[in-house]
């Protein structure tokens, strides 16, 4: 399965990924039109000590969000975890159980959203990253790889 990984050493924290993600999911081509719809990003720049960490859905193999979903809207597919929006009732169970904090709540619409890898195409966040800190890799075995460059000492500190 393809997954997005982050190199924490080269992320500048510029939020280009957030912007590209929000635009991609706004249903509009132009940024100006998209802004009017108050789109929600599905990747979020978080702080990681002195560094930055863009966080998005890791498409866990044993995903708690899938079990938590009361309508069965959230299911694992061959392309990763997807929400069938027409079946979602916005209870927020998936948001609550996600260990990564990768599901976003949109207070305006009272709905929830997470990374769908921009459908079948290239994730726009990867395209938009100016330093190549975000990359798309093919990786079946390791659901835990999300932060690519992370020494053991950095994890524990």
């Amino acid at each position: 399965m393809r997954k997005v990984v982050v190199n924490l050493r080269t992320c500048l924290g510029c939020k280009s990924c957030e912007l590209a993600c929000a635009l991609s999911h706004s249903g509009h081509e132009s940024l100006a039109e998209a802004l009017a719809t108050r789109p929600v990003r599905r990747i979020r720049l978080r702080r990681h000590g002195e560094a930055f960490a863009p966080v998005t859905c890791r498409h866990c193999l044993d995903a708690p969000c899938v079990f938590a979903c009361i309508s069965g809207a959230r299911q694992r597919t061959d392309e990763g975890i997807r929400t069938n929006d027409s079946r979602c009732v916005a209870c927020g169970m998936c948001y609550m159980v996600c260990p990564s904090g990768a599901i976003e709540r949109n207070p305006a619409t009272r709905s929830f959203a997470s990374c769908d890898r921009c459908g079948d195409g290239e994730p726009r966040c990867v395209d938009a990253c100016p330093t190549g800190a975000l990359r798309l890799i093919e990786d079946e075995s390791a659901p835990s790889i999300y932060f690519e460059i992370l020494e053991a000492s950095e994890v524990s500190s």
Binding site: A53, A68, I70, S71, M93, P99
Partner: protein, 420 residues
């Protein structure tokens, strides 16, 4: 291999999916006493509100069971188990032999013993049949009273208001709504939001009797109102019973399976009888925050337990990690997340941190034991992410507890351990 699953809700459906993942050929039979398809019980309030239709009630859609090649037989009420012949025997005389059996029959609603509960217009709100009956009489109901102020009553109240019922009165025995899963501070915000939306809360009260009147056209007796213990009467045309559920242990006890509050299971969801498993609202399974086996009748736990049971039934080794009480919902647009030992107080030897912002209608409470998160109540438009993960992974949050209670997780370094 024949797998028989008693029940067709969270535990049963997820067990069936897990079995199919591990066993491509086995026969999977789900038996339900209800005359209904594989609907999701927590969606009933959305259905009552008119937000989804009957197709929308079906877990994972109408084709879900076809997709995992499982067969649901409705109207099959299992009366007893013959653990020596390895058969489930139904009230209609039909017999289902099994190689592996899962008891996922859930709970039964508590029935209050007061006069008048047999009148027309008094309903439980637990099954699709209940919900259709409520829906069919809703037009006549200007005022509705719910007995109980738990989560089901709150969601029912919201649905009734959306369907045009003018007033809903929650009659609550304790001092607040959601007393099992919410503390006083969070409940206060909820009560405010409810009353702004025509739902009135009567705490420390109980319904002593439901009184009736003759329905027109000789249609028998129907609800006219309720009398409360404090002496007050409320005129109403509908009463909902929401006094909670308890595990349905009749089958297990009849079969000599060990029970306590629920059916006792180990970390593989096996009961005390060979090849019989239990999961969901009927099971008493390990709870990591309480450190003991508990009945937690909640969807995410039932689904996880069902999946673990299904994997083990089909010969894979799966271990239930001991999930704990957790819930997320929105009540009239007010988001609520609760988890674990949420009603705990400082006096219980636990550390309690709270943050209240009345203007923004935000309430945040964290409960820590030895630096680790063991409970939370988060109400309002505020960050509730990662808290279940932090509790689940037993992360020591003491170095960032102040920011955690104020605004939620800010430094992602603290959750990297959750992801490995």
């Amino acid at each position: 291999m024949t797998y028989v699953i008693i029940g067709s809700s969270a535990a049963g459906l997820n067990a069936a999916a897990a079995i199919r993942k591990a066993d491509a050929d086995g026969e999977i039979l789900l038996l339900t006493r209800e005359h209904a398809r594989h609907y999701s019980r927590p969606l009933l309030s959305y259905y009552l509100a008119g937000k989804i239709d009957e197709e929308g009630l079906l877990y994972g859609g109408g084709d879900y069971l076809n997709g995992i090649r499982a067969t649901l037989l409705s109207g099959k009420d299992v009366a007893r188990l013959d653990v020596y012949a390895r058969e489930a025997v139904c009230t209609d005389g039909s017999v289902f032999p099994y190689d592996r059996l899962l008891i996922a029959c859930g709970g039964v609603a508590e029935q209050p013993e007061i006069p008048g509960v047999d009148l027309a217009g008094v309903f439980h709100f637990r099954t699709l049949v209940d919900t259709r009956a409520i829906s069919a009489t809703i037009e006549r109901a200007r005022v509705c009273v719910t007995m109980g102020g738990g989560l089901v009553s709150l969601k029912a109240a919201e649905a009734l208001r959306e369907r045009g019922v003018e007033e809903v009165h929650l009659v609550v025995g304790s001092d607040r709504v959601m007393s099992q899963a919410m503390d006083a501070g969070g409940a206060a915000l909820l009560t405010k939001r409810l009353s702004e939306n025509g739902v009135h809360t009567h705490t420390g009260e109980s319904v002593e009797a439901v009184f009736g009147e003759d329905a027109p056209g000789g249609q028998g007796r129907r609800v006219r109102g309720v009398s409360l213990r404090g002496g007050r009467q409320i005129e109403c045309q509908m009463v909902l019973i929401g006094k909670g559920v308890r595990p349905d242990l009749s089958l297990a006890r009849g079969a000599g399976i060990e029970t306590e509050w629920g059916i006792l299971v180990n970390e593989r969801m096996q009961t005390s009888v060979c090849d019989i498993y239990a999961a969901g609202d009927v099971a008493q399974a390990h709870d990591a925050l309480h450190g003991e086996a508990r009945v937690n009748a909640l969807w995410p736990l039932a689904a996880q337990q069902g999946s673990v049971a299904g994997s083990n039934m089909a010969g894979r080794d799966a271990i239930y990690p001991g999930w704990f009480a957790m819930n997320s919902l929105q009540v009239f647009g007010l988001p609520v997340v609760t988890m674990g030992l949420v009603t705990a107080r400082q006096e219980d030897g636990l550390e309690v941190l709270t943050h209240v912002d009345e203007r923004r209608e935000v309430y945040r409470k964290l409960v820590l034991r030895e630096g680790r998160l063991v409970g939370c109540a988060i109400v309002g438009d505020t960050d509730a992410s990662c808290l279940v993960g932090l509790a689940r992974s037993r992360v020591d949050v003491s170095s960032f507890k102040e920011e955690l209670v104020l605004s939620g997780l800010t430094d992602y370094r603290n959750v990297v351990t959750l992801m490995t």
